[in-house]
Each structure stands twice: as C-alpha cells, then as structure tokens.
Amino acid sequence: MVEEGPVSLSEAPTRRLGMIEAINEALDIMLERDPNVVIFGEDVGYFGGVFRATAGLQQKYGKNRVFDTPINECGIIGVAVGMGAYGLRPVPEIQFADYIYPGLDQLISEAARLRYRSAGEFTAPMTVRAPFGGGIFGGQTHSQSPEALFTHVAGLKTVIPSTPHDAKGLLIAAIEDNDPVIFFEPKRIYNGPFDGYYERPATPWARHPGSEVPEGYYSIPLGKARIVREGAALTVLAYGTMIHVAEAVLADKGVDAEIIDLRTLVPLDIAAVEKSVQKTGKCLVIHEATRTSGFGAELAALVQERCFYHLEAPIERVTGFDTPYPHSLEWAYFPGPIRIGEAVDRLLAAG
C-alpha cells in the first residue's frame, strides 16, 4: 500500500516541471488519449486560463474540445452534467474555488447523485478543477479552502495535490475516474513549494524533488496517501500547501515527524493514517481552511475512534481562523510556522 510509494510510474524519463506545467501536461495527455474529454470554463480557451493551466490546448485540440464559457458556474457544472450523460468526460474549470458556490446545487444534488438515483444508468464522470487556498493576497474571494463542504457530500471525491508530480498523476486519475471529482489546486504552490516563511525569498519548483515529472502518461490512484517523510515523534496529516509548510517547520525544529500527504480526502486512505498514528502515538492535523467543521475535525474524530489507545497526547488541529480570509492580515490568518510550532511543542511535551 502506502509504503510502496503508490506511484504507478514509470520508467519514463523525468523533467523538472512546475505545478501549472504538470497540470497542463495532464490535460494535454487526456485530451490526446480520450476523445470524450472536453475542457471548458471562464477564460480557459484562447487565453489558456488566468493561471495558464490550459495554455495552448485550444490551439492544439480545437474549439470543440477546449472553450470559454459564460461567467455562470451553475451553467458550467450543469452543462457538464448533461455532457456526462451524453457520454463525454468533461473537465470544467472553476476559475477560483471561491466562485464554485453558484454551481453547488448542480454538484451536490445532481452530479453527486446521478449514479445513485438512476441506479447506475447515468453517471457524472466529470473532474471539476479549481485553484484554492490563500497566500496570494486574494482577500476573501480568492483565497478560500472550501474542501470540507465537498467531503460532506456523498458521491463526490475530493483530491488535492501537493507537488507537480502528484498533480499530473492525480489529475489523470481524476479524469479517468467515473465519479465526479473535485480537484482543488493549491494556487500558492503553483510556482514553487511555499514553506510558510512568507518573508523569505520564494523557491522555485526546480529545486524540489516533487518537480521531477515523468514524461507521458501515468496515474496515481485516488484514495492513496503518500508518506512525505517517515518519522517516529509524531504524525502530521495534511495536504496541499500545508505539506510544505509542515515539512519546513518540523525540519527547522529538528523534529522526527512522519508527514502524511493525504492527497485524496474522500475516499480517505484510512489505513495509512491508522498505521502512522499507531506508530507515533501523536497526531497533528493541519489545514488552511477555517477551523470549525473543517476536514480536520473529521480526521481528529477518525483518529480518536480508531487509534485512541495508541494516543499519548490530545490530537492537535492547526487551521485557519474562523473568519473570512483577510486581505491585509493574510499572514496573521495563515496557519504558519508559529501556530504549527506551538502545536508541535504541546504534542512533544505531552506523554
């Protein structure tokens, strides 16, 4: 399972890619491999997307496969449901996760329920891509992390990559999946593995091992976590940007932590979580999203239910605050090194 490094690949030669390039490559490969794949969304066509994730794809595959849409998320998801019923495999982009709410009824009541309510006659094999998360001075409408909303919906899968390598393999797996997948891309790490020390110079992907991306097709199975770093002192459960922040903070503190990148929130790799927490006896959950009813609450409950007698300290949750994402005080909101460091200290002091 997890310890195999659940990566299908790949004898293929690798190159250093950023996350946007890796996503673009995954889309390119799937457009090439599967004539049913269509990509659409606001500004994704001729222009190639505000983050450039679809750059060059319309030119390569034509307007029937890659096109712009009206600014109407209800319509974007709604037509994707209809296209899926026809037999296409739509990959709509929502320009920012913050904009996805007008499409929620189509996602929650429709896409997520088609297979169930039609007893398998109709499915919604769509992958909804959306950049999410803060740290880019996006204020409250370009910074949110709404993943917990989607994990609460029976029938949806929620996937969040943390490296270019994973972004490509997970996106290909998501597109091939016959269930609707919400694919949240941590936009703070589009261009480099942000470590949470915002005052330090940014580092590019090229220096990170996760930027080694094999050429060609490969997929990373959904529902499989990745052990970022093995360790004995405590278990960190995180995903997306917070993987890199956790890595940096724990390295700075010299803590021998085991860091697990969940990669898929639903279905969750519960075996990887259990195995690690049972080994370390301590668990730190980190996410950037607001705290109350965040996915960290679900993780804490699962760990408590399944690993209680292995726990040597209360489970710690480090999260964003229960406020809208502020513009000027962005770094006060962000669960950065200090907040994580305090939680680590409490865990290490306990037991």
């Binding site: 269509v38 037509v79 449901v81 026809y86 037999g87 279905p267």
Partner: protein, 432 residues
C-alpha cells in the same frame, strides 16, 4: 421614513412612500371566476415563420398564442401539422392512457400503497404531443410532470408502477421518490426533485451532441414557477451562446403548488417573451391543443436539427388537479378555475377533432377508455406482485450503499455492516 431627505438635505418633493408589490391571484377559494379578460386569439391566425428564420421573426409569437384547433375543433391555419388520422388516434390513446394511469396511481397512493403521486391532468398534450414531435432517440430532460413522454415512447407501465411502489422490481432500486423515473434506453434523463436543474443539463447534452456532430437533439421541460430559478438563466445563456440544438419547454400551468404564476413574473410579460432578451427563438402555444403543441415542438426540433439554434416554448395550460397527493388546492384557489378554463381539455379537444374528421366516434372513445383503464389495471396488478412500498419487498439491503460511488469505499462498507447488524438485531431471523 416617508418623505425623508437625501444626503444633500433636499426634500424629495411630494413623492409617496415606496410600496412593495406582492402579487395576488385574481381568484381565491369561493370566488367566481371570469376569464373574459384573458387574451385568446383565434386559432389559425398566427403566422408560421420558416424554421431557420432569424430569432427576432419569432418574437411576436412570444406575445401571441399559437392555436390550431378552433372552437369547432377543426384544424386551421399555417401551424396545422397535417397529421394523418392514425397518428392522431395514437396520440389520443396515449393521452387517455396517461390520464388513466394518473387516476389509478392516485387511487393507489390513497390506498396507502405508496408515499406520493403527481398527476398531469389537463397537461397531457404538453408531454405526449411533444414526444410525438421529437425523435424517440432525442434526449428528454423532463420535470416530474411529463409522464406522458415515457408513455408515448412505449415505456412499460409496469416499470413505472414498480418505480412508484419502490418495490423489488423497481429499476431504480427504491432510491427515488415516486415518479422520478429514469430510463437511458428510452432516452429519458433521471428526473430530479430539485427544480430546473435539468435545464442546463439538457443544454449540456445538446452541446455534447453538437460537439460530436450527432443528429440527436435534447429537450427540457420545467414549470413556469421554476423558470424563476437561476438554472433557467444559466440554460438560456448557454443555449444562446453556443447555439445549442435544444428545445426548452416551459409548462405554464398557472400554479406552482399554491403560488400563482405571478410569483414567477407573469404579471409583467409572458414566459415565452424571455426568449427575446436572450436573442433566441420563442413560441407561445395553447398547451391544451395537442396539434398546436405538436406543431410548435416539431418546428423547434427541425430548427435545432438544422443548426439554427434553440427555441423556448411556453405551453399555456392549466394544472387541473393538485400539485401532488400532498397538496390541497381548495385551500388557495377557486375550484371554478378548472371548470371555466377557456382552453378546454386537451383529450376532449383532440377526440372531438377526430370525430369532426369522421375518423372517430363516441363509441370508439368509450371502448378506448375501457381498454386503457384495463391496461393500467393489469400493469399495476402485475407491479404489485413485486411489492408495494413498506411491505418488505424492497431491494436487497446492501443496495442502499451501492452506486454512491462506482466502487464501495471503506467507510460505506463499514456503514453497510452497521446497517445489516441493526437489521439482524431487530429481526433475528432476517435473511435477504
């Protein structure tokens, strides 16, 4: 505060205080109904533009009412689809069968055999005649009141009854409320209880068909009440922008549960007139005139198939009965509305048209009514052998957890074990 001052300090003159307009229907329970002010143009008087005309050419029709059957039940004017008598008789029979099915299933609900039912009485033409005008493999995205489409396409009544009873033979495994049918084989999308969601989906299906260079088109149905949903705007915008090969029907049956059409905007303009703002073709049709419905949908389907774009069709009709078995219209509208409805009954009108042609008789009508009632009775009895709601003959227990995802994830497998353990504790001898 009335008569206040603006920021400049200037008084706003003698303007009256602002007033909120909350629409009110003309008639409430006990009121005498008078429809004489309802604009009903003569049959046959409406021009029929070419199917590939510019959208604007149809826009006068959005404020008109396309009618074919005149007061003497003759088919007149350019919209007469000139159907042969055999087709007319088949259409009449399907409408009668739909009505008989509704009456039977309504009674079965009252007898406690299922939880819920919805009739389409008085609106049969808007689904049956529309289905006749479409090809059988055109994809339909109905609301919950278009059972006539499935019946017109020959979907087995026993399958419909199985679904309504949520029994062991229900192809939807007892997961959906009654009447939320689904049939891929009959090109009928799974019906949703969330209103108007099917509208952008129909447009998406039509876009997919166009992407693929297919020849099939899509058609969607919503009520006038749910045309107020954002999904309507999403669908119209996408349909217009992408020139989608889709027919978008609004069934204006005057009532959305207890809210009259004024709460969806009918005091201001017609529902068909919304096409004007989007720049797509629009038609407004007498929904109780099966020939007019057929002609309008056929026109729109031909237009879509010719890459000439989408059409919005308002079917002007009347919901003759309650919203559903859970509703009591006597609490909010006048019973006289149905009796006085000036556009009559679609089944009666089509029957009289055929009689006028010398192709039908009252005796044939009586025979047909007996036959369709017997057909429905036989189908529902057969379905009841597979069980009725709440009597244990449902689908195997584990199916509750299946089809949430293509594969059963660990958390659902654990929850299924819990459910089955509860079952065994409650009924120790239970076996699937």
């Amino acid at each position: 505060m009335a008569g206040g001052r603006g920021k400049s300090g200037n008084k706003r003159g003698n303007l009256p205080p602002l007033e909120l307009h909350v629409p009110e229907p003309k008639y409430r329970p006990g009121d005498t109904v008078d429809y004489s002010d309802l604009a009903i143009p003569p049959a046959g008087a409406q021009p029929r533009p070419d199917e590939t005309c510019a959208p604007a050419e149809t826009h006068p029709l959005c404020l008109d009412l396309i009618r074919v059957l005149d007061d003497d039940h003759r088919a007149v004017g350019p919209w007469d689809p000139r159907l042969d008598p055999e087709t007319l008789r088949r259409m009449l029979r399907v409408m009668a069968l739909t009505r008989a099915f509704d009456e039977r299933m309504f009674r079965m609900q009252r007898q406690g055999k299922t939880s819920f039912y919805m009739k389409c009485t008085g609106e049969e033409a808007t689904s049956v005649a529309a289905a006749f005008a479409l090809a059988d493999d055109d994809m339909v995205f109905p609301s919950y009141r278009q059972q006539g489409i499935l019946i017109a396409r020959g979907y087995p009544l026993v399958e419909m009854a199985n679904q309504i009873y949520s029994n062991r033979a229900d192809r939807l495994k007892g997961r959906q409320m009654p009447v939320m049918y689904s049939s891929r084989d009959f090109a009928c999308f799974t019906i949703s209880g969330n209103l108007a969601t099917q509208y952008p989906q129909a447009v998406g299906w039509a876009m997919a068909s166009a992407i693929r260079g297919d020849s099939r088109i899509a058609a969607g149905w919503i009520g006038e009440g749910s045309s107020a949903e954002g999904d309507f705007h999403a669908a119209m915008t996408f349909a217009a922008v992408f020139n989608a090969p889709v027919v978008l029907n609004v069934i204006n049956n005057q009532w959305a549960i207890s809210s009259f059409s004024g709460f969806a905007g009918s005091e201001r303009t017609t529902f068909a007139a919304r096409a004007i703002g989007y720049g797509v073709a629009g038609l407004r049709v007498d929904g109780n005139d099966a020939l007019a419905v057929y002609a309008a949908v056929q026109w729109a389907a031909d237009r879509a198939r010719a890459n000439a774009g989408p059409t919005l069709i308002e079917h002007f009709t009347y919901r003759a009965e309650a919203h559903s078995t859970s509703d009591d219209p006597s609490a909010y509208r006048s019973a006289q509305e149905r009796e006085e409805w000036p556009l009559g009954d679609p089944v009666t009108r089509l029957g009289r048209h055929l009689i006028g042609l010398g192709e039908w008789s009252l005796e044939q009508q009586e025979t047909m009514d007996r036959e369709v009632a017997e057909e429905v009775r036989a189908a529902t009895r057969q379905a009841e052998k597979n069980g009725i709601l709440g009597q244990g003959l449902h689908h195997p227990f584990h199916t509750m957890f299946e089809d949430v995802y293509e594969e059963l994830p660990w958390h659902l497998e654990e929850q299924a074990e819990q459910a089955i353990r509860e079952r065994r504790l409650k009924w120790p001898g239970w076996e699937e």
